[in-house]
Amino acid sequence: MPTDLWAWLSLAGLGLFHGLNPAMGWLFAVALGLQEQRLSAVLAALPPIVLGHTAAIALTALLIAALGIVIPTSILLTAMGAVLVLFTAWRIWRRFRHPRTRFRATKYELALWSFFMASAHGAGLMIAPLLVAILNSRSTALQASGHTAHAEVFTHSAGLALAAVLVHSGALYATMTTVAVIVYRELGLELLRRAWINVDLIWIAVLGLTGLLTLLLGLRGLV
């Protein structure tokens, strides 16, 4: 069993968490289905939404893969922890405006909306520390086998990062599809009035906690 299995599982877990958040897109898909009065409209809306989310996360992931080569892990973790904590503070301090789009969004508009929605919520930042953990454990193995050229390491890291993004997005897609179809076909919208808890509050708590943990890990490596 790989030592970083926990990190891969956490990536999938965050996919589940992001997927459950109505603001991330499944509710949009349900609304479009109701407007068109067919399930296929629900299903057609989901891939662009997942794609937009994936792009937002992949951007962060590739950045980390690149930085990971030139910056020692402890410093990277410390910096990332600081960014996360600052981002959380900004989200609490500043009133938050959602990105907007038209209701009858095209596939392109849906993807763009989802990209901005995920970015504005800090979805990529939330998974960044997990990526560092995965890259770190794998690159130690790579270095032990004598491969140390930057280009070679980056190709390897980028591949790993993209694999991590795919795991996250796979879980996201599965969650969104399940929830959207169940709500559209079985539960109905009455559910929203009771079950739409303030996910933003949980989200901010998760972001803040991740930031603090990352910061501590980084600092521990530094001293």
Partner: protein, 463 residues
């Protein structure tokens, strides 16, 4: 501000909103026609039949300024907060946004702590509106998915164009003009939208100069008042189409789009036809991607003796119905029509919007008719005007004042302000509640909003 669950008064769809519990309070603006320095006020009326103060004014909040005229108002937030593309479900419906059509103040009232004694939370001074939007005489308020939308009759100097500006949901700051490309739109009055079609609709009355000194006879006879509606791309903020009712149709006012977001049609009233003084209701609808409009109801003028009529109507020897407000029930089934001139409230079954069927008529007030009410003795004046329907469609409330400068022309002997309630048979037909009559005495009453929402306050994104 952080709440854990959505506001219980937000409903995803009109179908679910129909099951909302009956309202217990109504908010009604009270205006002072006497020029004696007393401010206008927001009155809170008890509409709970089991309460000992039923049909009484149980709270009054005076405006912190004088010299204005309250008219329409709305909520800071409503069911559109649940919309999936701009989800803000954890904002509360607690503030009434109360524009002043004369002085251009906008007062924010907080109803949360004590719903019967709303507190003034903020006053937006006219200068802020002038500077940020160069609009004046704010009118209709709608809680949009991404901000509070307010229409304005014109500019600070009293001319056009009138248009829409946006208030921030949280800070109530004027963010600026809404329109990016208005085409040749110049007159403004009401607006609402089809959220399911990303479409805004706006209507036309007149500029402040044309309405503030009463209706201008010459301009009316020349067809200068509004006779069009405009359709806009709600997202791109551009006008896409104008629909002309013909310039003999003067003053095209209240817009009532279907609440069901999958339906692309709605009703608008034309106050008076220059041909025969009739009023009419028009249906706009979407057909093959184009918007169209057609007349679906016409209400004729009633002949009258010259000595029964105010000066403005004497030459015509008839009372025009003067349909000045309409309201559509949340299930899009019944349309209520206020005939302020003849003193009638009409109910039409509009299940088939192209062929409305008259299902009920009640008479009260009227320029000539002066019909009474079971709760009071003697004739009444003014006529059915601002009409509001409860979310479940079972109760209808209305008041009898139109607009002070126009009240004086059509009811020159003054109007005694009142508010009444009508009970509705679910299959059509209606009767006055004999126990509900709110007497405003020498003050007047205009728009009514029901606690928790009503048929003209909320819009929905889910069918």
């Amino acid at each position: 501000m952080a709440v854990w669950r959505p506001d219980p008064t937000f409903y995803p769809s009109p179908r679910i909103a129909m099951k909302a519990p009956p309202e217990k309070l109504a908010y009604v603006v009270r205006l002072n026609p006497n020029d004696d320095g007393r401010p206008d006020a927001m009155c809170v009326v008890d509409v709970d039949p089991t309460s000992s103060t039923y049909s009484k004014i149980v709270g009054v909040t005076e405006m912190p300024y004088t010299g204005g005229e309250l008219h329409h108002f709305g909520w800071n937030a409503c069911s559109s907060m649940l919309c999936p593309h701009t989800p803000h479900p954890h904002i509360e419906r607690r503030y009434l946004v109360v524009p002043d059509i004369r002085s251009s103040h906008i007062t924010i009232l907080d109803t949360k702590e004590n719903p019967t004694q709303p507190k003034v939370a903020k006053v937006i001074e006219p200068e802020e509106l002038y500077e940020r939007a160069y609009y004046a005489r704010p009118h209709t308020v709608h809680c949009g998915p991404d901000g509070i939308y307010i229409s304005a009759l014109g500019t600070p100097d009293g001319d056009g164009p009138g248009g829409i500006f946006i208030l921030d949901h949280d800070t109530f700051e004027v963010l600026g003009r809404w329109e990016i490309d208005r085409g040749d739109q110049y007159l403004h009055y009401d607006f609402w939208w089809h959220l399911g079609y990303d479409t805004m609709i706006t209507s036309e009355w007149g500029t402040p100069r044309m309405v503030e000194h009463g209706v201008l006879g010459e301009e009316l006879l020349a067809g200068k008042y509004g006779h069009r509606i405009h359709l806009w791309d709600l997202h791109r903020r551009r006008r896409v189409q104008a629909l002309d009712l013909g310039n003999e149709q003067q003053m095209v006012l209240e817009l009532r789009p279907a609440h069901d977001p999958t339906k692309a049609y709605g009703f608008v009233n034309s106050v008076v036809s220059l041909k025969d003084l009739s009023s009419s209701i028009w249906l706009w609808y979407r057909h093959n991607g184009e918007w169209k409009i057609q007349k679906v109801i016409e209400i004729p003028a009633e002949p009258a003796e010259e000595d029964q009529l105010p000066d403005i109507l004497k030459p015509f020897k008839a009372v025009p119905p003067l349909v000045t407000d309409i309201d559509l029930s949340v299930d899009d089934r019944f349309l209520y029509v206020s005939c302020w001139g003849t003193g009638e409230l009409r109910q039409y079954d509009v299940s088939n919007p192209f062929e409305p069927k008259l299902t009920g008529v009640l008479q009260i007030g009227g320029i000539v008719r002066r019909a009474g009410h079971p709760a009071v003795s003697g004739p009444l004046n003014g006529g059915p005007q601002m009409v509001e329907v409860s979310r479940d469609g079972r109760r209808v409330y209305f008041t009898n004042s139109l607009y002070l400068p126009w009240d004086a022309q059509f009811y020159p002997d003054g109007i005694r302000g009142w508010m009444v309630k009508v009970d509705v048979n679910p299959e059509g037909g209606m009767q006055f509640d004999p126990n509900f009559f709110v007497d405003f005495g020498d003050q007047r009453a205009h728009q009514i909003r029901l606690q928790g929402g009503d048929a003209s306050s909320d819009s929905y994104c889910y069918a």
